[in-house]
């Protein structure tokens, strides 16, 4: 096989792929053989027995309705288990942020390291990517991992994997995104954990993502209202991440990355029950990178304070 299986999900997907390929090939061969045998045996002028010709037969029809259907349901259930697994990142996964734009991938590590068109990850450890786009829809595609996820403007989508092979694997954009779509590529570099730790240390930037967020939190005036000591009635953000929030319009939402992002750029649509609509929109004032840093800072508050709000 040309394509390596370099993630924990790749062998599971390949098992289903080759099983379905085999099944489909078996059906195709059976039908081709039947077509050819009938075509030869019942060609005009042959002396094959044509008595007892059937024009319809309920039992036959039901057989070739129910047998394929049962096989389809089996395939569906098998695929279901893999698909839900692919959408259930483990809680201890390392979250890395990805921002796509025409025509590059920007990566922000939680410790503050930044990369463009490359992503360094440690072997054997779960990594979760929280991704958004600055412009059009892109798609994060790593063939060797058998993984792909569209990356949209205005929302976060996620993807997770456990790399199982050392080396460098191509990263491609799979969703057509304009002129240089074909060259919007990069690589995923899988390193041994110790080597990865050294890489992180060697590329430490200006403090962690959360620390940059803390700076922005002050410089953009967020702390003026959201600080617990503030006189203005605004929600306390300590321990907010991951909890369930009751909104003024009756909805309940989980305070995930997407929720926090929307709160900052479209606060009017995410009003928390019991608070006045006084927060201005920061749409256009913060880049996606700055938004991510703010979100990382708010997430870091979760560990510090007591959790609240969750029923």
């Amino acid at each position: 096989m040309l394509l390596p299986e370099a993630s924990s999900i790749a062998p599971r997907i390949d098992a289903l792929f080759w099983s379905m390929t085999l099944l489909c090939a078996a059906v195709a061969v059976a039908v081709f053989v039947a077509l050819i045998v009938y075509a030869v045996r019942y060609r005009r002028g042959s002396n094959a027995d044509r008595r007892g010709r059937l024009n319809q037969d309920l039992a036959v029809e039901l057989t070739w309705i129910l047998v394929p259907f049962a096989l389809f349901v089996a395939a569906f259930i098998w695929s279901l288990t893999i698909f839900t697994f692919a959408h259930t990142p483990p809680a201890d996964a390392r979250t890395v942020y990805v921002i796509a734009r025409q025509w590059m991938w920007k990566v922000e590590h939680p410790e503050g390291q930044r990369e463009i068109n490359t992503l360094h990850v440690p072997l054997g450890m779960p990594v979760r990517l929280a991704m958004t786009s600055q412009d059009v829809i892109h798609s994060f595609y790593v063939p060797a991992f058998r993984l792909k996820q569209d990356v949209l403007p205005g929302r976060y989508t996620q993807l997770w994997f456990v790399p199982t092979r050392l080396g460098s694997f191509p990263l491609l954009c799979a969703q057509y995104c304009g002129l240089d779509h074909a060259s919007m590529g990069g690589e995923i570099i899988v390193m041994p954990p110790a080597g990865f730790a050294r890489w992180l240390a060697g590329h430490a930037g200006a403090g962690s993502l959360a620390a940059r967020g803390a700076q922005l939190f002050r410089s953009h005036g967020c702390s003026g209202c959201h600080d617990p000591k503030s006189a203005i009635h605004a929600p306390d953000l300590t321990g907010l991440y991951g909890t369930t929030v009751h909104l003024a319009d009756g909805r309940t939402v989980v305070a995930d990355e997407r929720y926090l992002h929307d709160c900052i750029v479209l606060p009017a649509g995410q009003l928390v029950a019991g608070y006045p609509p006084v927060m201005p929109s920061f749409s256009g004032q913060l880049s996606e990178e700055e938004l991510l840093a703010l979100i990382a800072y708010i997430k870091s508050l979760a560990a510090a304070g007591p959790s609240r709000g969750a029923p």
Binding site: C24, V31, F32, R53, F69
Partner: protein, 535 residues
């Protein structure tokens, strides 16, 4: 012009006025079918030229022939033209228009003026799309995904969208016309379960055209509003949702796949019954399965969005429904195969096309099952695996069936025989050329080559060269019928009224038929009554 008229041989519809004005104002369904035939042939050649550029460019990994910009415009033009100006009108507007009234024993369709209007709408839409090309082209892909198409593309998106929008009304009106015609103009004795499966297919496809196409029109209008006037519908910066576009687009465009394949299923049923000299096996199940495809086909659009960010639960429901819609297609393949059993089979060109259709459609359908499993769609989505899958269904399926149908009814349409050995040669060449072009693309897709790539990793080159080589064989196979069919108009032998010994009502009138279709009321019997002698 001199016409020899006798009481025995009525004047053919082709003899009623030769001037351009007579053709452009005709209300005769048979002439409108020919007008459509000329239109879709023109657009097929244009779309084929774009495909040629694509395959030439992909011979080298760096895409040396075209710039990225030109390449993007080439595949967009190929998709827009082939989907909306060839595949969707192909069989319904040409063979459907020509055959429905003949097959049900009617004089014309229910609304002849509406029929001509449909053709003008189609041509107007086509001209807008060609104008978009001449004005610089469009680079969004045929899917017009937002926010690229509304905010970021600086190409002629609006012109192309207007073209598709206008031609959509041609589909809606044609569907409406067919539904009313089939309900109200059947000759006495032609009950629903005596209808040829081709008419059933036209009925099912008309339902889809009438119900799905308005959603496309609406979606394209919303693109116009956002792009032209900045109304926020899909753009998140304006409070819109880009996934909303995909839902609306595929709500039309998945049923549109069935608009392309149902008519093909109808054509193939007629051909296989005729050349196996027997009734189609499981006639009733064939009708039910076509209606089932038309109905369930409306509920599977979300399988285009498994990796889009759509909710996991939605994806699973769409996946299950997509497996369900494969059942009626499987029924049809098995029934066609069973129709050959104990038949008295001959292998004229239409039959070769029909058998080729069954094989290629089956391979396209089976790989569709793999894509219906979201776990497999994660790696395969937006790769050449998908490209290969839908070309097997639409080109291997619909185009083979269209050409099979053109050959089968050519004697009826023109009164002339085409050269049989050339036609058989072309059909076989097409089958091999097609597989050589598109089978390597399945492998490319599995290995991870994304679609819409102007340049690619060098490891993918051998399979791409193979595919381009196949495409050149395919191009020759498509040009052959164009040549010998035109030749036969002048030099072909006279066809006679029923050269195949077929049983549909259309074979009971002269070739070509008179303007009023039948001079005597046709004799109606069970469909595919091949056991009895011809009437």
């Amino acid at each position: 012009m001199s016409t020899l008229e006798s009481a025995a041989v009525p004047r053919s519809f082709l003899a009623h006025g030769h001037r351009l004005g007579a053709w452009l104002t005709t209300l005769d369904h048979k002439r409108i079918a020919i007008l459509y035939g000329l239109g879709i042939t023109f657009f097929f050649v244009l779309g084929g030229a774009a495909a040629t550029l694509i395959r030439l460019n992909l011979i080298t990994p760096d895409g040396a022939l075209l710039s990225a910009e030109t390449y993007n415009k080439a595949f967009t033009f190929h998709g827009v033209i082939m989907v909306w100006f060839f595949l969707i009108p192909s069989i319904p507007a040409t063979l459907g228009n020509f055959l429905i009234p003949l097959m049900i024993g009617a004089r014309d369709v229910a609304f002849p003026r509406l029929n001509l209007t449909s053709w003008y709408l189609y041509m107007t839409g086509g001209l807008f799309t060609v104008a978009a090309l001449l004005a610089g082209g469009v680079d969004t892909g045929w899917t017009f995904y937002v926010p690229f198409s509304t905010l970021f593309s600086s190409s002629q998106v609006l012109l192309a969208v207007i073209g598709v929008f206008v031609s959509g009304f041609s589909s809606i009106l044609t569907g409406l016309n067919f539904i009313v015609t089939i309900h109200s103009l059947r000759t006495p004795g032609m009950s629903w379960y005596r209808l040829p499966l081709f008419v059933w297919a036209m009925y099912a496809v008309s339902l889809v055209m009438v119900l799905a196409t308005p959603v496309l029109a609406m979606t394209l209008a919303l693109i116009g509003l956002e792009r032209g006037l900045g109304v926020g519908i899909f753009d998140p910066a304006l409070g819109g949702d880009p996934l909303l576009f995909q839902h609306l687009f595929w709500f039309y465009s998945h049923p549109a796949v069935y608009i392309m394949i149902l008519p093909a299923m109808g054509v193939v049923s007629e051909i296989i019954a005729c050349f196996a000299r027997r009734r189609v096996f499981g006639y009733r199940f064939m009708t039910y399965s076509m209606l089932a495809i038309a109905v369930i086909g409306f509920l599977v659009w979300g399988h285009h969005m498994f990796v889009s960010g759509q909710s996991v639960y939605a994806s699973l429901v769409f996946s299950l429904l997509s497996f369900v819609v494969a059942v009626p297609s499987a029924i049809k393949v098995f029934n066609w195969t069973a129709t050959l059993r104990k038949g008295d089979i001959t292998f004229e060109a239409p039959m070769l096309y029909a058998l080729g259709f069954v094989g290629l459609f089956m391979l396209g359908g089976l790989t569709g099952l793999m894509l219906a499993a979201p776990a497999l769609d994660i790696p395969l989505h937006d790769t050449y695996f998908v490209i290969a899958h839908f070309h097997y269904v639409m080109v291997g399926g619909s185009v083979m069936a269209y050409l099979g149908g053109i050959h089968f009814w050519w004697p009826k349409l023109t009164g002339k025989r085409y050269p049989e050995s050339w036609a058989r040669f072309a059909a076989i060449l097409m089958f091999f050329g097609f597989n050589l072009t598109f089978f390597p693309q399945y492998i490319l897709g599995y290995e991870g080559m994304p679609r819409r790539y102007h340049a690619y990793l060098p490891a993918f080159q051998p399979l791409n060269v193979l595919s381009s080589g196949g495409a050149s064989i395919l191009a020759i196979a498509y040009l052959l019928p164009l040549g010998y069919l035109l030749w036969s108009l002048r030099h072909g032998a006279a066809a006679g009224d029923n050269p195949w010994g077929a049983r549909g009502l259309e074979w009971q009138t002269s070739s070509p038929p008179p303007q009023e279709n039948f001079t005597h009321p046709p004799q109606v019997r069970e469909a595919y009554d091949y056991e009895a002698p011809p009437p």
